[in-house]
Symmetry: none
Subunit: 209 residues, 4 copies
Amino acid sequence: MTDTTPKRRRRKDARPAEIVNAAMDVFVEHGFANAKLTDVAKRAGVAKGTLYLYFETKEDLFRATAREALTANLEALEQSSAAFNGSIADLVPMLLKRAAGRMGDGRVPGIVRMVLAESRAFPDLARIWHDEVVARILGRLTELVSAAQAGGEVRAGDPGLFAISIVGPMVLGVLFQEVFGSDSQHAPELGMLATQHAETVLHGLLVRS
Amino acid sequence: MTDTTPKRRRRKDARPAEIVNAAMDVFVEHGFANAKLTDVAKRAGVAKGTLYLYFETKEDLFRATAREALTANLEALEQSSAAFNGSIADLVPMLLKRAAGRMGDGRVPGIVRMVLAESRAFPDLARIWHDEVVARILGRLTELVSAAQAGGEVRAGDPGLFAISIVGPMVLGVLFQEVFGSDSQHAPELGMLATQHAETVLHGLLVRS
Amino acid sequence: MTDTTPKRRRRKDARPAEIVNAAMDVFVEHGFANAKLTDVAKRAGVAKGTLYLYFETKEDLFRATAREALTANLEALEQSSAAFNGSIADLVPMLLKRAAGRMGDGRVPGIVRMVLAESRAFPDLARIWHDEVVARILGRLTELVSAAQAGGEVRAGDPGLFAISIVGPMVLGVLFQEVFGSDSQHAPELGMLATQHAETVLHGLLVRS
Amino acid sequence: MTDTTPKRRRRKDARPAEIVNAAMDVFVEHGFANAKLTDVAKRAGVAKGTLYLYFETKEDLFRATAREALTANLEALEQSSAAFNGSIADLVPMLLKRAAGRMGDGRVPGIVRMVLAESRAFPDLARIWHDEVVARILGRLTELVSAAQAGGEVRAGDPGLFAISIVGPMVLGVLFQEVFGSDSQHAPELGMLATQHAETVLHGLLVRS
DNA sequence: CATGAATGAGCATTCATTCAT
DNA sequence: TATGAATGAATGCTCATTCAT
């Protein structure tokens, strides 16, 4: 009897996470409006009523899910932010590679799509996503570019727009995959896109620039 | 009743277009699931039942709307495609400028957002959009890049990925505006983004590349 | 073609009344919480959704129903109020008789029971009933008693309490019928109660008072 | 553990009473349908499941509660019934005074309201209340009146209806307070009502009856 | 053709009841 | 005994769709 925690209690603590996990799949797959709580419950292996032990309403569950997705992304973000030193020429390829790797496997692309889709119906969530994820990423990148400009590595220009030049193609690539699938002729392979776009954005398309 | 072309008939011919036009606003604003046909009818100035004289179902109306949006974009696209000659160095700034102009005013950004949002629920529409818009734009751009590579203007690399490097930041800029609004600190001004990104993607970020 | 009003329209105008009428039965029979809108719809001969064309919510329908019941009672009340002249000795028997008659047939007793039952859940309705019905009846009666006191017909005392002495037994009789049915040994026959109580309250129980 | 009558057991014996007590408050406050067993449990200081150790269903608990309320009233009734002797002229004021006192403080008025409210949904309870309370009170009173008629104190008439003339105003006063509150202009003060109505019903309203 | 009242399937939500601990 | 997490039947409400006018 070393474990005094009853199984029921252990499950109770895990339930919200299990439910949010199931909900993430369902919301990403069907969008908020078309997601049926029955499906969420089924996927979470609980009854419909159980959802309401942990979340007040469907919207509430959606918010919790969106916030959880945020958290997941933020952790990944924090890791990358350690790579603060070094030259832009080293940093950009690495960052894009990492991003490509992160996007390739998990549910992140679907989440991004969902955020775009529901941003109209949940403007407050859009703001949170902006503040917690987008602004942070762009802000950090903008700082790096600024520093590189100060160091003479990067040429003059709005560092915020440079940041967009750096990440834009990766975002497009991810959305392309998510929206149109990978069987299109134009579907970019994310790893290769990361490598080549890093080159491109650093040195330019032109042969002799 | 000497007039055999009464207002009624003239309106009748215009009805489907009027309805689709109203529907576009409503679908863009609320998304497919949250759009109410009552709203569409009200905005089109007709009764709810009238919608069903021209469209079988809500989904049908949505498809017609999505296809119409497509057409609008395609026309704009065809114009740009006239600019077939010239060097990449001239073409890219011009194309991005035009894109920025087109995105700045009208309903296109909202439509793009809607397409992303509903692509999961309407994969066939996603495919149409892919084939009719995305593949065409990327295809044409890829051809241009390829030609420029052949002409020694652009260096070696996958021309399809280069195309993404060119348009990606503009897409990100548009989505940013659409999703987060323009009051964010990081919201890019599209015209400036077009100008600077054209520079960047052509010559690179680095001072001496 | 004298009647240009289409049948549909004619029904539309009648619908709210039909629905309220059906709702009255259902609410009186089951109370607010146990009343099923399906039942209301069925009894009104319409579909469930039709209710929502005319009433926002179940509560809304209930309020409308309660207000309608009020109106019905008020009309009866206004008639009685014509009997403004004459002595108390003539008035009281007549009023109680009328009340007994009105209570005997219709749905009024059930409505009174419902008002009592739901007054806790709908205090605003209770207030309306108080102001519109109860206060009016008691107020008018109190005035009559006051006038009769001034005229030396009625002896000293609080005229408001006298009013309660006059109507209280009738209310108890009605509630008794409504709650316990008329097969009880103690169930008062309302007509006889009216007659005898009028005697009693005017002259007293005692043989020689 | 020398004490074989631990607090647990003592509480155990009291549990049903505690639960019924809590239930009475909740049922009176919200009515049967709107009463939540969670609230009952919380107020009783037990878990929801505990209720089911002592009562099969919510309805069962309600019946027990209604029966308990009955008992409370019956005890009060039995006391009054001792006052069996004396003249009607002495008895009536005393009885009404006592009734006014009993109604003034406790939960009795609320219980009366609840009985009226739920009599439709629980006709068997209505019957029990009728047999155990109403019929007894009216029966006893009818007997007293009958005896007084035999003794020449009360004049001719249906003694059952006389009984209603005696108690009706008190019932109306109690219900008025319960349903409309005491801040209405017409709200009768029960003590004064008892005094004046006793006078009125004994001697009549008229100056010279 | 046009209307909009009517329909009813579909889903979120509540809460009495159960049962593993 | 006592607990309270879990259940799922029941119901209010929405809105795409139909059809009598």
